[in-house]
Each structure stands twice: as C-alpha cells, then as structure tokens.
C-alpha cells in the first residue's frame, strides 16, 4: 500500500475539475511564496491538518502503514495560526532566510464528495533548498484535501499529507512544504 486506496475515484464535470485544480495551484503558489496570512484565509476554522508517521512494513502486516496514533503534525486552526505567527518572526532560524520552495502538483482526482463537499487527492513533489548551498530536499507525498464549496470559493476543511518517506530526509517540515 503506497497510500490509502483510491478505488472510490469519482467522476466530476470538467468545470468542477478545472475549479479544483486552479484552487490547488493557487494555494501551492501561496505556500511557495510564504504568503501564509493569505493562505490561512483558505482554511476553515475547524480544519484538521495531519501528517501521519509512515512505517516500513512487511506485506500482509496487520498494522497500517500510516500510523493512526502518531503524526509529525496534527494541528487545528489555532495551532496552524500560531505556527504562521512563529514563522513571521525574524529569529525563526530554520526559515531565515526563507527556504526556496516549489510545489509540483499532479494527478488531481476527486475521490469522494457530495454537492458541496469534495475530497480531492493530489500527488506532489516539493523541492526545497536553503541557505548558501547547492543542497536540496525533495519531499514526495499524496495529499487528501476536503474542500467545502462556498459558491465562489473553496474552503479547506481537512487535509492529510501521506508522505512517501519512512525516515524524513529533511531538517524540518515547515508548513509551506506540506
């Protein structure tokens, strides 16, 4: 199991697919540019953001590959807002100067949904380099995002980031990398 099953892929009309993709692309751009105050405005007050721990398991193991108990992040709106506030401080050393971040998002599919709530899966590679070096990190993941359609805008009500790493190869998982 590389990520939770996507057998429930649901077909949506081209307009909806287009709107969802444009939303995710714009959101990724805000993250890449550390426009985090504006990014916060896309989140629902009751949002839950999770990045579960992944474990290398033998095929046939009864235990899940993605932990149901432990996560790198499991945040509500208040904690996310505090993190954004923390990053804004000049002595948040890990992001001063800012990392150079770039999301590449693809394989966007609706996997569940009702009239006004859709759950969307996307694959992503997130590039990050930092400081005066040629080094970089590459984080690979599949995101599941639940969006509430408020007519003219979408609001993110839930997100889980399923990392493709059993051992993280990055010195920090700052919010814009998710």
């Amino acid at each position: 199991m590389s990520s939770p099953s996507l057998s429930d892929t649901q077909s949506v009309d081209a307009d909806t697919q287009h709107r969802i993709e444009q939303f995710l692309f714009r959101e990724a751009d805000l993250l890449d540019r550390f426009e985090l105050e504006e990014w916060l405005s896309l989140l629902d007050d009751d949002i839950v953001l999770r990045v579960p721990v992944r474990t290398a398991r033998h095929p046939g193991s009864e235990q899940p590959e993605f932990s149901e108990e432990s996560s790198y992040l499991r945040e509500d709106y208040e904690m996310i807002r505090e993190r954004v506030g923390r990053l804004a401080k000049e002595y948040a050393w890990s992001e001063n100067p800012r990392s150079r971040v770039r999301h590449v998002i693809g394989n966007v599919r609706v996997i569940d949904g009702t009239d006004d709530t859709l759950t969307v899966a996307n694959n992503q590679h997130v590039f990050r380099s930092y400081g005066d070096t040629a080094d970089h990190d590459m984080l690979s993941a599949q995101r599941h995002t639940t969006l509430r359609d408020e007519g003219d805008v979408y609001v993110i009500t839930e997100r889980t980031v399923y990392l493709d790493h059993a051992i993280l190869n990055t010195k920090n998982l700052t919010l814009p990398l998710l």
Partner: protein, 453 residues
C-alpha cells in the same frame, strides 16, 4: 543533502583524544571532534561497542513474536520477544553468507527467513532449518548456527543492549542515575507505554551535538527557541508559575549521565498531568522521588552515549505533558538518524483529551514542530564548520567553561535529599556546563582505552 566529509590526515588519533581529555578539564574541546572521519569508526568500536545502548521499551514488545529493527551504533539488530516471552537482540546478518533478512521496521513473526538461500531462524535466534537440509548438511552442528546476539537487560521498562561480552552490569552502568530514571519512567504503578510509531529523520549533525544539547542545555533555549516561546494565545500551564526560569532550574550529573529539570513551588504540579495522576502514583517511589515528581514541570537529559529523554509539559504552551525517548543513531561522521518515541503513563492511555494534548507536546519537538526545527538548522551548521581544515590546522577549541572556577557565582550546589543522589546545582541549566563536560569526559575515558577486546 550529504556532503563529502573531511578525512583527517593525522593517522594517530590518540593525540586528539588525549588533547580532548585535557581540554575538557579546562572547559574546552577541539571543535574538530564533531566531524572527523578518523574518529568515527573508533567511536563505533570503543564507545558503542562497549556501552549499554538503548534499544526499545518493553511496551513495544508485548506479544511473542513482536520484533523491531534497532541499532547499536550502526549495527542493525532485530529486537524480538520469543515464544517463551524472553527478549533477544540479534544482528541482522545470516550465519550463512551474512545477508540481511529483516526488511520491515517492525511487526510480528515466529521465524525469520533469509531471502538469499532460505536459511530460517526462530525468533529466539536458533536455527530452524534450511532448504535441502537433509542432502546438503548431513554433518552440520545445528547448535553452532546461532545468530550473533547482544547482551540485553532492562531497567524500568527500558531495554538496553551491549555488544561487548565484558563490562559492568546495566544497573552498575546507570549507577546513581537509576534514581532519576525512576522519577521519569516509573511515576505510576503500571509504568510508561509507547504510543504509536516513532518520528524518524536524518540530519547532517553529529550524535554528540544533540546528546550534549539534551544533557542539560537550557542556555540555548533563550536564543534558539525565541520564536517558539513567544506564543501569544496558547495556554502555558505550569510554566506561568515560573517567573524566574534560571531560578527554577536544576542540573543533576552523575559520572556518565545527566538530567536537567524545572521545579515549581507548587507540590501538586506533576508536570501538568491530569489531577487523577495522583491516584496512580507508583507506591515504590521514595518520598523524595514522589515529591520531586510532584514539583516537576519539565525534565530533559541524556544517558551516555546516545539516549536522551524529555518528560514534562512544553514551554510556550505548545502542548503536553508527554514523555519522549530519543535515540541519536550515528550514520557517519557528522551525520545522525534520530528516532523519537512518544510515551505516556499507561493509566492515561484511554483519555482522549489527554492524548491530544500529549501528542501536541511530542510533535512540538520533531522536524514538524515549533522548536526542534530551529535546532536542526543550527546543529547541521555545527557539523559543517567543525569539519573545517582551519580547526584542524589551528587546533581550535570550543568553550564549555560555565560553572568552572570563578566563572559564575550564580550556581550553587544543592544539599537536599529531594534532588536525589547526584551532584545537583541550582541555575545549573543556564550557568553550568558540567553536563557537557561530563559527556565529553565520558567520550574521552572510553576512547582512550583503545579497542575493545
């Protein structure tokens, strides 16, 4: 992210080892020991090959067949509970051609089968058999085929392993530090339990840097974690009672291990645990251990060489209380793979509200957290620059002189049984670097003795 590491051209490492031993007594140390390819293999052999190394917690291995891949130095061991309930740690190396046979991080199995030629071992490390055994191995001494096994012992649920056949018992190795491990891991009658899966990450820092940081360095918190501490809206819990952080802090050092802690004047603080914690207290704790736990806000420490501990409620209101065990697995000169386990008192395992707050505290000190992300950036820089040729050519020494001689009159030795059998100082977390000197002195004492037999 990895860079080529410096290879020191001096082949005689005894010079730098002796220089370190001498410098430490004056509160200095050669910076180059934090990224030095010549010292790395000797560290694995002389330190990790001979000391007791933390491998896991008994709560992770409750059923026969439970296993996990764990490391002593860089050596891959498989920690198992066998069918009769006994714990073992085997090297992941088949006795036929040396192939690895454990591909998962953890799981449950009665047997391990090598994928190369099919040799199969029971989870007690003895040979079960191999393909064509009757034809190919008619004169084999089956008793002789046994996986290489580390010596194991446990203390308060903590499982330690040692490669060397000779050496002190675990209890002798831990010495007076067992008193503090009781306060940290035997607070309640049922003891601690590991929850979920550990955080794991690789970074370009030396294992000694993080072991030193956790051994009792609150001095760095003021600067490194300033952004995390200036939280505006989160509830701060017992930290609000502590108006004078240095004044509330203590440092306890034994000859190898050390722990720092913050105490409240409120005897019912109990690290911010839910009130019912007092119903679960371990009756085997002494009155002093119970009182210390009662006044405790936050503890952190290091068991030499590479196990560190946190137990308490996070500062800045970032969650908790929780307990965390860290393992700094060496992965090359100036390179470490960190494993970070989350533990809670077993009696609170069903309390959902507590679990949420506790997880929040644990994750605050992870690569995703508000605190450790800043440490990691700094620690990688230490490793990078410690490999500088300038340091090697000039013999540059870093400074750890706090608390030495007339350096500060702030630090005072505490003479109160509340603080246990170690040497304890007030304000030691801020103004005394005895913990750092203890760690490097331990490093020196093991490195100078030459290779293990």
């Amino acid at each position: 992210m990895s860079k080529p590491k410096k290879t020191n051209e001096q082949t005689d490492i005894s010079e730098i080892i002796e220089r370190t031993g001498k410098a430490v007594e004056e509160g200095r140390y050669p910076l180059e020991i934090l990224n030095n390819a010549d010292l790395y293999r000797p560290e694995l052999r002389r330190i990790f090959g001979r000391t007791w190394n933390y491998l896991g917690h008994v709560s992770e291995f409750t059923e026969p067949g439970d296993y996990a891949r764990r490391y002593i130095g860089e050596d891959p061991f498989i920690l198992t509970r066998d069918e009769s309930g006994e714990l073992h740690a085997f090297l992941d190396s088949c006795m036929h051609r040396g192939a690895q046979f454990c591909t998962a991080e953890n799981g449950n199995t009665s047997h391990f089968r090598c994928p190369y030629h099919g040799w199969t071992y029971k989870n007690d490390g003895t040979l079960q058999g191999m393909p064509h055994m009757g034809e190919a191995y008619q004169d084999l001494d089956e008793e002789e085929i046994r996986l290489e096994e580390a010596h194991l012992d446990t203390y308060q649920g903590l499982i330690f392993g040692r490669i060397a056949d000779e050496g002190p018992s675990l209890e002798a190795y831990l010495g007076d530090f067992t008193w503090y491990l009781d306060v940290l891991f035997a607070t309640t009658g049922e003891g601690m339990t590991v929850v979920g899966e550990p955080h794991r990450w690789e970074s370009d820092h030396d294992w000694k840097t993080s072991a030193d940081n956790f051994s009792g360095d609150s001095y760095h918190v003021l600067t490194t974690h300033q952004a995390g501490l200036e939280t505006e809206t989160l509830a701060r819990g017992p930290w609000e009672e502590l108006t004078d952080f240095p004044g509330a802090s203590y440092l306890a050092c034994t000859d190898r291990h050390s722990v720092g802690y913050y105490l409240s004047t409120d005897a019912d603080t109990f690290m911010g645990y839910p009130d019912e914690i007092t119903e679960y207290l371990n009756p085997e704790l002494t009155d002093e251990q119970r009182d210390l736990f009662g006044r405790s806000v936050f503890h952190f420490g290091t068991v030499f060489p590479n196990m560190s501990i946190i137990h308490g409620i996070q500062s800045g209101g970032w969650g908790g209380p929780w307990a965390c065990i860290r393992k700094w697995n060496p992965r090359g000169p100036g390179k470490t793979e960190t494993t970070s386990w989350w533990l809670i008192p077993s009696e609170l395992a069903e309390d959902e509200d507590f679990l949420e707050e506790s997880h929040r505290g644990w994750e605050s000190l992870s690569p995703g957290g508000a605190f450790e992300s800043d440490d990691l950036t700094i620690w990688e820089g230490i490793s990078d620059s410690s490999g500088a040729i300038t340091h090697e050519l000039r013999g540059t020494e870093g400074n750890m002189q706090q608390g030495l001689g007339a350096m500060t009159d702030e630090v005072e030795t505490v003479d109160d049984p509340l603080h246990g059998p170690a040497e304890v100082t007030t304000k030691g977390l801020y103004f005394d670097e005895r913990n750092s000197r203890t760690l490097l002195r331990s490093w020196y004492e093991l490195m100078r003795e030459g290779d293990a037999a």
